[in-house]
């Protein structure tokens, strides 16, 4: 684990950062940390290599120099120990932010998260809130192979007692942390590794939707594409392609994976009558499965086609670039699924109005 993590540092650190106007997802996360550390003395950051190294993905670069080793703490390579320490600090009145290198390694701390962080409030009759924030990297797409590339946020979204966030935009990267720290319960923030270098304008005045709401990132009328995190850019690109083909796709960014905002999803499906869920996790037992099931439960009579899912192939994410690409949801796959669900744009009852009577399928 250590060797692999360290080997990755160099490339991650060599990234150029943007200008004053433009920023990156990574810088937005760092600004959020800086704000939080300045705003509240109880806030501190700890994790593997977050201090002198600047974070395995460079998020906390420079913070040690600014805030000192008391508040930017390097930890031993023991997820269970430092997450447990974070829980203890939270119980004692601090506001710890714990960074875990990737979601794969978070499994070493799963006992702490599931059996302690998520349960103590409930097992203590409300006496022991755990105001802990855990940040971790998730997702594939960077040739980090099967031990660094999985998308297990759906597993965490299964657990009552915690909140699960997936910032997919620079705005959300910049603003979700403050809201997470304000939450009296444990909050897990999943940062998709492919997003760190995403750059764009950060609008200082942008109104930030509250954590309970999913957001329509693109409005459309024919089909709803529901996604989150690292799949959002691919899904938006797919919506763009679909628009060229005459299919108006609405893109919903879930943002909060637990609790799910059913209202926004169902309102969108009620408008478009069709849905495709895009999720980089494996299909079986996935968050996509949960969203699909809820649509069937709550919007069945609005559906004009079966709900489809675009997920990763059910294999450990391969190392080889071509195989990794083939295993992950891609824009082409999203477009294909959306066109299947949208169906031909004409009606059989219109008879002669069909674009091609011989082969009705729009392809």
């Amino acid at each position: 684990m250590t060797a692999e993590g360290s080997a990755k540092h160099e490339t991650e650190h060599s990234t150029e950062y943007g200008t004053e106007h433009k920023t990156t997802y990574r810088e937005a996360l760092r600004e959020a940390l800086r704000d939080a550390l300045r705003a509240d003395d109880r806030v501190f950051l700890m994790g593997e290599d977050v201090g002198r190294y600047g974070g395995c993905f460079g998020v906390s670069l420079g913070l040690l120099e600014e805030f000192g080793p008391e508040r930017i703490r390097d930890t031993p390579l023991s997820e269970s120990a430092f997450v447990g320490a974070g829980i203890g600090a939270a119980l004692a009145g601090m506001r710890p932010i714990v960074e875990i290198m990737t979601v794969n390694f978070s499994l070493l701390a799963l006992d702490q998260i599931l059996n302690n962080a998520a349960t103590l409030l409930h097992m203590s009759g409300g006496q022991l809130p755990v105001p802990l924030v855990i940040r971790m990297t998730t997702g594939a797409g960077r040739q980090l192979a099967a031990q660094h590339s999985h998308s297990l946020e759906g597993w965490y979204a299964h657990i009552p007692g915690i909140r699960v966030l997936a910032p997919a935009t620079i705005e959300d990267a910049r603003h979700m942390l403050a809201a997470a720290l304000a939450d009296p319960d444990p909050v897990l923030i999943f940062e998709h590794g492919a997003l760190y270098n995403a750059s764009g304008e950060l609008h200082p005045d942008a109104r930030i939707p509250d954590l309970d709401r999913a957001v329509v990132r693109r409005a459309g009328t024919d089909i709803t594409l529901i996604t989150y995190g690292g799949s959002l850019p691919k899904t938006l690109a797919a919506a763009e392609e679909l628009a060229v083909a005459g299919v108006s796709a609405e893109v919903v960014d879930l943002r909060t994976l637990r609790p799910l905002d059913d209202t926004t999803v169902m309102e969108s499906v009620a408008r478009t009558h069709r849905a495709v869920v895009v999720d980089e996790a494996w299909r079986s037992g996935s968050l996509a499965a949960e969203v699909s099931a809820r649509i069937t439960e709550q919007a069945f009579y609005d559906l004009d086609a079966p709900v489809e899912r675009v997920c990763s192939a059910e294999v450990p994410i391969p190392y080889a670039r071509q195989l990794e690409e083939a295993a992950l949801p891609g824009t082409a796959g999203i477009v294909a699924a959306a066109r299947r669900v949208a169906g031909p744009t004409w009606s059989a009852a219109d008879g002669g109005r069909s674009p091609s009577d011989g082969d009705g399928r729009v392809s």
Binding site: H273, D304, W346, A348, G360
Partner: protein, 497 residues
């Protein structure tokens, strides 16, 4: 291979009388060819087919009254049934389902009452196998459980052949009868929409996967209006006909080898004639108009149009033409109504599913009253694109055929806006009732000489009162006003129409 089924040709039509075949087995047919004449409550209609191919089999003989959706003929298209969502795939899939279950029924039952044995050779996949029925019974002997089951499934016990002792209908018979009814694949939203728009799903052709009916199909069906059901009512799919064997004597000469016709003796009643026909049409109009007034919040506008310029121009034109090419005032009025609809598209289209859908082109429904009462509204397709002579010719053709009962199905459907003219009846103003799901109706009263202000003096000019009844859900008064103003302006320049 495709099925040619009894179409629904008007509001509230649930069955039709096959009057005559215009083709014989082996004839080549093309999409759009009229291949049969169907008599409805309103008129005899030439019905077109939707496929290119060869007439493979005629399943219903002329003079038979069958429910909408019943297979009338098999068109061999030379294309193997495929699961692709081509328009023809729905009926194909249905036919196969029926055949499979029909085969089982045939195999498991004894030879029929008339002694016909099941076919010795393997039956072709599309062959409509006889299911057979017992002779008509006065009372069907059934137990309470079976009666309950049949009620649940909306089955007519009289149409079920009993295989129990003494011809009793058993539970198994009911289940088998249920199984032979093809299930229509419909998306949940399309099913909900069909309820809201009163569309009979059994008659909607699905464009989705494996012929599934989708919302777009329901909307199209509602727009063309033929399958509108009186609301509320049980879907007719719940009580489909039980396929039975017609008497062998009923075989028609056009069929080379007498095949069992899939008809329903119980409904093979004579065609309504005379008063029956009038009463049936009255009923159809009553249902449609009641629905319109129940659902559509009408608003009405009216304006008076000076036709002096138009009629002078018309007179000059007509004096230079042979009688056959003369124009009636109706021609410029209809053309202006169509052009105005193109310029004010908010009134040209349909109200479906809680929103307005603009029409694809301007297709004018023209109310034509029939001798002996009642009316039809044949459609001038693309009326805004027709020159006045072409529009006049089309109008004459439609009116003559509407009255002689030789309209085609497509000529009665698809209107995006209806025009009614009481020019002949000597009344000045007509406030119409909108034909759902359209959103407006334009009315013209009689052209009469009236006093009016002309250049500051009192003059006498030929005037017509143009009215608009419009759906307030789809448009507001300002839009309607824009329409009438546009109409008026257009009629002042007849040479540009």
């Amino acid at each position: 291979m495709a099925e040619f089924t009894m179409p629904s040709l008007g509001a509230d039509m649930d069955e039709g009388l096959l009057q005559e075949w215009l083709v014989a087995v082996g004839d080549q047919v093309h999409k759009g060819d009229a291949i049969a004449v169907v008599e409805t409550d309103k008129a005899a209609i030439e019905v077109e087919c939707f496929e290119d191919g060869t007439v493979g089999r005629l399943l219903v003989e002329p003079g038979t009254r069958v429910p909408v959706g019943t297979s009338l003929a098999v068109i061999e298209t030379g294309v193997a049934p495929a699961p692709a969502p081509a328009p023809a795939s729905a009926p194909v899939a249905v036919a196969e389902t029926e055949t499979e279950t029909g085969t089982k029924a045939e195999v498991s039952s004894a030879p029929d009452a008339d002694g016909r044995q099941p076919p010795a050779e393997p039956a072709p996949a599309h062959r409509p196998l006889p299911v057979g029925t017992a002779p008509p019974r006065e009372a069907v002997a059934v137990g309470p459980l079976v009666r309950h089951l049949a009620e649940q499934k909306h089955l007519d016990l009289a149409g079920i052949r009993g295989t129990g002792r003494g011809g009793r209908v058993t539970r198994r018979d009911v289940e088998r009868a249920t199984a032979t009814h093809p299930r229509v694949r419909v998306t949940p939203y399309a099913r909900r929409l069909a309820g809201e728009l009163h569309v009979d799903l059994a008659q909607v052709r699905g464009s989705g996967e494996l012929g599934a009916v989708r919302a777009v199909d329901v909307r199209a069906a509602a727009r063309t209006g033929p399958t509108v059901l009186p609301a509320p009512g049980p879907p007719t799919a719940a009580a489909p006909p039980s396929p039975t064997r017609a008497p062998a004597a009923a075989a028609h000469a056009a069929v080379p080898k007498p095949e069992p016709f899939r008809t329903r003796p119980a409904t093979a009643s004579p065609a309504p004639v005379g008063e029956d026909r009038t009463a049936a049409m009255r009923k159809a109009i009553a249902a449609l108009m009641a629905r319109s007034k129940r659902e559509i919040p009408h608003y009405y506008l009216s304006t008076t149009v000076d036709l002096d310029t138009a009629l002078t121009w018309l007179h000059t034109h007509n004096n230079a033409c042979p009688v056959a090419e003369r124009l009636l005032p109706a021609a410029p009025l209809l053309k202006a109504a169509a052009l105005a609809a193109r310029q004010v598209p908010e009134l040209n289209g349909f109200w479906t599913d809680g929103h307005f859908e603009p029409g694809d082109g301007v297709h004018l429904g023209v109310a034509v009253s029939l001798r002996g009462g009642g009316l039809l509204t044949p459609v001038l397709h693309g009326a805004d694109t027709l020159g006045l002579p072409a529009l006049m010719a089309a109008l004459k053709d439609l009116a003559v055929r509407a009255r002689t009962g030789r309209l085609r199905g497509s000529e009665l459907t698809g209107a995006t806006l209806t025009v009614t003219s009481l020019v002949e009846q000597g009344v000045e103003t007509v406030f119409g009732v909108i034909h759902p799901p359209q959103v407006a109706l334009v009315g013209f009263g009689a052209v009469t000489d009236r006093p009016c202000a002309v250049n500051g003096l009192l003059g006498v000019r030929p005037m017509v009162t143009a009215t608009l009844a419009a759906d307030h859900r789809a448009s507001d008064g300002a839009v309607g006003a824009r329409y009438l103003t546009t109409l008026n302006r257009l009629l002042q320049h007849p040479e540009e129409l």
